[in-house]
């Protein structure tokens, strides 16, 4: 329990630091939310009205205290660009990114782990080496490039799916699936490749253990030994990697949402950064931190479910 608290506290400190840095830098850097909202055609009076409304003309100490107050009351504030509560904006975008991430994770697990097992089973023989080689290449392909190629093949040439259109799940589940599957694949590809490698390595490490020999000596065939004994053991390090991948999917979605023009959190973040929408940027940072804490929490739970040893010995 103590370990969790320490972890949580460290996360909290880091987020606070990031928030403080964003506040300070948004003070220094050029770019003004009111200007960027109104554009070149605004009259002076319109600009001044908006600047006053956003509190841009208030002295630093007032803005700082307002910021601190918001921070401690959990009020994310109102977006400067959209005049809508930040939490509302984020919640609106969340389903897209979350479903994208979940679909990608499912693909990674469903494709990566079995292929990793197959590759480990064949070890140094041809299928194993082939899968390793392909996964090595898969890891090197930038996801936005594969995204572009996927759009070209499936969107423009074949017209199977339509990039840039997103229908909410509630409206048309199949449509939503169709609009998310390509970006999910693009995000998943490099991670599938790395999961294959990790699974392969982890299984091959486990295969050196005596319990494998014992299982074989019972008369189990290799497949059963892999699935019944080795896999679960091999999963433990893979889960750590999956946790890191889950966090990286969030990062990857920033780029992929841009490629596929999906109305997800990543695009919102880029918008917020380019329009100097400080409350929105901070809200996003908090949101991402929160998601990461949640992911880590789940990972820890999965550990304890899989590995009985962890219930006794705390992981440092």
């Amino acid at each position: 329990m103590f370990v969790y608290l320490k972890k949580l506290f460290a996360m909290f400190l880091t987020v606070l630091l990031v928030l403080l840095i964003t506040f300070v830098t948004f003070e220094i850097i050029p770019g003004n939310p009111a200007l960027s909202r109104l554009g070149v055609d605004a009259q002076e009076s319109q600009y001044e009205a908006l600047a006053a409304e956003l509190g841009l003309n208030d002295p630093l100490e007032i803005r700082l205290s307002r910021w601190l107050k918001g921070l401690f009351t959990g009020d994310l504030g109102i977006s400067m660009r959209y005049s809508v509560p930040v939490s509302e904006l984020i919640l609106d975008r969340l389903p897209v990114t979350i479903s994208l991430a979940v679909m990608a994770l499912v693909l990674i697990v469903l494709i990566g782990i079995p292929l990793g097992i197959v590759s480990a089973k064949y070890g140094e023989r041809l299928p194993g080496i082939l899968i390793t080689l392909i996964s090595q290449i898969g890891m090197a392909i930038p996801s936005f490039w594969s995204g572009i190629i996927l759009i070209y093949i499936f969107g423009i040439v074949l017209r199977w799916v339509s990039p840039g259109g997103f229908v909410p799940w509630s409206q048309d589940a199949y449509g939503a699936f169709k609009s998310l599957i390509l970006p999910a694949v693009a995000i998943a590809l490099p991670s599938i490749a790395s999961i294959i490698r990790y699974t392969r390595n982890s299984i091959m490490d486990q295969m050196k253990n005596d319990y494998v020999q014992l299982a074989l000596s019972k008369g189990l065939n290799l497949n059963s030994v892999l699935l019944r004994h080795v896999l679960k053991n091999a999963l433990i390090p893979i889960i750590t990697v999956l946790g890191m991948i889950a966090a990286n999917i969030l990062g990857g979605s920033i780029v992929i949402e841009q490629v596929f023009t999906l109305p997800g959190v990543g695009r919102l973040l880029i918008n917020a950064i380019t329009t100097r929408d400080l409350p929105l940027v901070q809200g996003m940072v908090l949101y991402i931190a929160f998601i990461i804490v949640v992911i880590n929490f789940f990972i820890d739970i999965i550990y304890t479910v899989i590995d009985p040893r962890i219930r006794l010995v705390q992981r440092g």
């Binding site: 090595q136 090197a140 930038p142 423009i156 880029i270 940072v285 991402i288």
Partner: protein, 267 residues
């Protein structure tokens, strides 16, 4: 014996070829990289233009060659920043331990939990786009992994006899850290540097793709990709070439990293 070196050799060959291309581009490119030629737009690959031309009639191969300078430069400097600072932080943290170690490692852990592209993105958007800031951003985001690897090496080695002997002899901490321990924990750091190079190339491409990295007319593979994206129907070679080269370079460094690790593990 050859079998275990195959990763290493693939890596070395790929990197050498690309590096050769980079070195050649310092003195020579088949065509000017920036000069615009309105008569030769979207020429498909031919003997004259091996990789075709782009929407400005510029030779894609020449731009790819020039772009390799950016890729190597970004990778090299970013990895240097990341490894020097990371090793320094990791060494201090691992060698001295205690509360300093605790604080540093907690921060490093939290930093690693954040998607690194996000940190780089924030940095660049805050301090402005361009080559220099891209490099710094990528360098900073690679610090945590170097710090962690170095730290674990130092934690292991500081308990070993040769370190204790050195301490008894009265060798200064600084000297023990960097003359005694560091050479012994170097090989995982070298592996991390190789992988870090690959990641830096990918990160630069992603940032440039988002328009927040290298700025035109400097050729960058990522930027070329984003510029060429719409032309995929009229000039597929232009959209495909930069992607292929990014992949090859990343592949090269990944193989190299694996290769070095193979050798180390064999020992």
């Amino acid at each position: 014996m050859n079998k275990s070196r195959i990763n290493l050799w693939i890596g070395i060959v790929l990197i050498s070829v690309l590096m050769l291309m980079m070195v050649v581009s310092l003195f020579y490119t088949p065509f000017s990289v920036t000069e615009i030629n309105r008569l030769e737009r979207f020429e498909p690959p031919s003997a004259r233009h091996l990789l075709g031309t782009d929407n400005f009639g510029r030779d894609v191969l020449s731009r790819i060659m020039k772009g390799s300078q950016t890729a190597f430069f970004v990778g090299l400097v970013a990895v240097s920043i990341g490894s020097i600072l990371g090793v320094l932080i990791g060494a201090i943290s691992g060698y001295f331990g205690g509360i300093v170690d605790e604080i540093i490692m907690r921060i490093v852990d939290s930093m690693m939990a954040f998607p690194s592209i996000l940190l780089a993105l924030m940095f660049v958007s805050v301090f402005g786009v361009g080559l220099r800031n891209t490099i710094i951003a990528i360098g900073i985001m690679s610090i945590p992994s170097f710090a962690r690897i170095t730290r674990s090496g130092f934690v292991q080695h500081k308990e070993l006899d040769y370190v204790k002997n050195a301490k008894i002899k009265g060798v200064s901490n600084l000297r023990i850290m960097f003359r005694h321990i560091l050479p012994n924990v170097l090989s995982p750091i070298v592996v991390a540097a190789s992988m870090g190079f690959a990641n830096a190339v990918l990160a630069e491409a992603a940032l440039s793709y988002l328009g927040l990295g290298i700025q035109p007319p400097n050729p960058s593979w990522g930027k070329m990709l984003s510029e060429s994206q719409v032309f995929i129907t009229v000039g597929p070679w232009y959209a495909i070439a930069p992607g292929v080269f990014i992949t090859l370079l990343v592949l090269g460094f990944n193989f190299l990293g694996d290769g070095i690790r193979d050798i180390r593990e064999k020992r």
